[in-house]
Amino acid sequence: TEIEVTHWWTSGGEAAAVAEFAKAFDATGNKWVDGAIAGSGGTARPVMISRITGGDPMGATQFNHGQQAQELVEAGLMRSLEDVAKADGWRDIVHPASILKSCEIDGQIYCVPVNIHSQLWLWLSNAAYEKAGVPVPKDWNEFVAAAPKLREAGIQPLVIGQQPWQASLVLQNVIAAIAGPEVYGKVFNEKNIEAVASPEMEKAFAALETARELATGSNVQEWNQATTMVINGTAGGQIMGDWAQGEFAIADKVAGKDYTCLPGLGLAEIVSTGGDAFYFPKVDDPAITKAQEDLARVMISPEAQVAFNLKKGSMPVRGDVDLATANDCMRKGLDILAKGTVIQGLDQALSADAGTQLADMMVQYFNQPDMSIDDVKKGLVDILQFDS
């Protein structure tokens, strides 16, 4: 049965990853009809929502899991996967469990999580540090200390793309790594206003100011342009999720040799999980319903998980697969995932609305030198209050 799958994975690494799903799915005798829409969720999401509410649903569609699809589910437009999940024991195999939890609404599972993204990474260019004549930093503090040398060598110490979500990613990183997971949880999960004023947070805010300083002069728009600068050594480092790894891979760079990755800014053993999931709109056609089940099973199957995540540069959602071919960085991630602290990504912790507001504020902060860190504190409090 033909089944149309919409998603916004169109960059090189992403597309290659999706192809793995398609291949696996086609192998089941069905046919994957690709409905990619480039841009980001902002371009693709209205199309998906329109199509679902407009009565012309696709077979399956990508969403960031979290609160995004909740209303569609509540409106009865989405199909419950509870039967499949029960039958295949998803609750047992998915690790960490929180990933599946975000698919659960009223005790029913509505989506297939396909990967885990760890968003807390500092990517460093070995070539840049070589050129500046300093050793490659091991953590954030060394990174800050080496920055003047980089400047002297005409290298941008820290590059941050100008898109709002990249700015909020920096905030997430410094809070999680410098203020620590507990404070992070208090702030974003519990929306605890007092926690914002805690001394740990003060340190984080200070780091944020430093980050802004280091990023002065970086003027790229998109995250992968920033990554490109790290790849070719015109920038020292970038704070970005593990999807950046795909870009390094495509450029034939080797982890540890050409570039260095520091999870949790090299200060803390944490991963923040965020990920992509697939949802399945309700359709009448039983053939498609059947195909949807096939697809769900394919996506969570160990083989597809391995193939997909290797290409995507993310981590599988099940602990029982072996990523023998994973590279240096991914290993680090997997290790932390296995033993370290798992915190919730902002996508899950905050509503889309609050998340965007936060991102807008952060990008403003990075772009307006006259905006003080106190404005950020105040803004953060407002947003948390708004969202609680």
Partner: protein, 292 residues
């Protein structure tokens, strides 16, 4: 009587130097982006990264064009723009025809068969021309769903017809009111009815304004991205969606040459129409568009 007065003004006066000088400068400014696009699309990637954007290609290559047309990937589909091209044709042709037909009938009814309230509806229509499309997307989806034509070409044609209506109706209304009213009266005396007059008298004499309408609609619809992507399924996605996918698809290094080639390819149809019928366009505008 020898005195012949001052010599005749010479052909190359300071005045004409100024006029042509200005025009040539402006023309260069207007052509630069096109030049940059063409030049870039003919360069290889390394050359782009090194050289400046204005320098002509050292080694012209049509690789990017081929890639943009038939190889560039969107997700898993690596057949370039060509699929979108035919979709765009399939969307544009009926949309242009139907929207012009309906708008010209409206304009005709407004100009020649004034009835009570007609102008009021028209005023609403004109105000509607200012409403941002984003506002309309949600209700439109609901409407199309209720009509049962969401997702198909019919729905998209309807959307283009609706949103093209204000400006086109204005054009046709103004144009038809410049045609002599007596022509219309003569046809009525000759026993032609509403439709007869429209099809046999009005339509045949509205070529200039039809040209304007066609140009506006072809460019508008061909270049449309939002409606194309929101109101149809992927199998009908127009060329602009493909273009967006290619341009916004982010592999580490942007393939500017492919992007530019794709951009030119996408703009080719409306550009051709302009170059071919630009003269008629101006005449048509003069004939109907600019009168209050």
């Amino acid at each position: 009587m020898e005195a012949r007065g001052p010599r005749p003004r010479s052909r190359i006066s300071p005045r004409s130097i100024m006029i042509y000088g200005t025009l040539v400068l402006v023309a260069i400014y207007y052509l630069i982006p096109l030049y940059v696009m063409v030049v870039t699309s003919l360069k290889g990637l390394p050359e782009i990264r090194l050289g400046n954007i204005f320098s002509p290609p050292v080694e012209a290559t049509f690789e990017p064009w081929v890639k943009a047309w038939s190889q560039a990937c969107t997700g898993l589909n690596c057949d370039g723009l060509q699929r979108g091209f035919w979709n765009s044709v399939r969307i544009t042709v009926p949309s242009v025809i139907i929207s012009i037909l309906i708008a010209s009938i409206n304009g005709y009814a407004l100009a020649n068969w004034r009835f009570k309230g007609a102008e009021a509806f028209f005023a609403v229509l004109m105000i509607g021309a200012f409403i941002p499309y984003q506002v309309m997307i949600y209700p439109m989806v609901i409407l199309l769903r209720e009509l049962g034509i969401y997702g198909g070409l019919t729905g998209l044609v309807l959307v283009h017809t609706v949103f093209g209506m204000p400006i086109l109706t204005l054009l046709f209304r103004n144009y038809f009111s410049t045609l002599p009213e007596e022509l219309f009266k003569a046809a009525r005396v000759d026993g032609t009815g509403f439709w007869g007059i429209y099809f046999r008298i009005m339509l045949p004499s509205s070529l200039p304004i039809i040209v304007v309408a066609v140009i506006l609609q072809v460019t508008g619809i061909w270049n449309d991205f939002l409606f194309g992507v929101v109101f149809t399924r992927p199998e009908y996605y127009p060329m602009t969606v493909q273009l967006n996918n290619i341009v916004n698809t982010t592999t580490g290094v942007r393939e500017y040459n492919v992007n530019m080639a794709a951009t030119i390819l996408t703009g080719l149809v409306p550009l051709l129409i302009y170059f071919v019928s630009g003269r008629l366009f101006v005449r048509g505008i003069a004939a109907g568009a600019v009168k209050g």
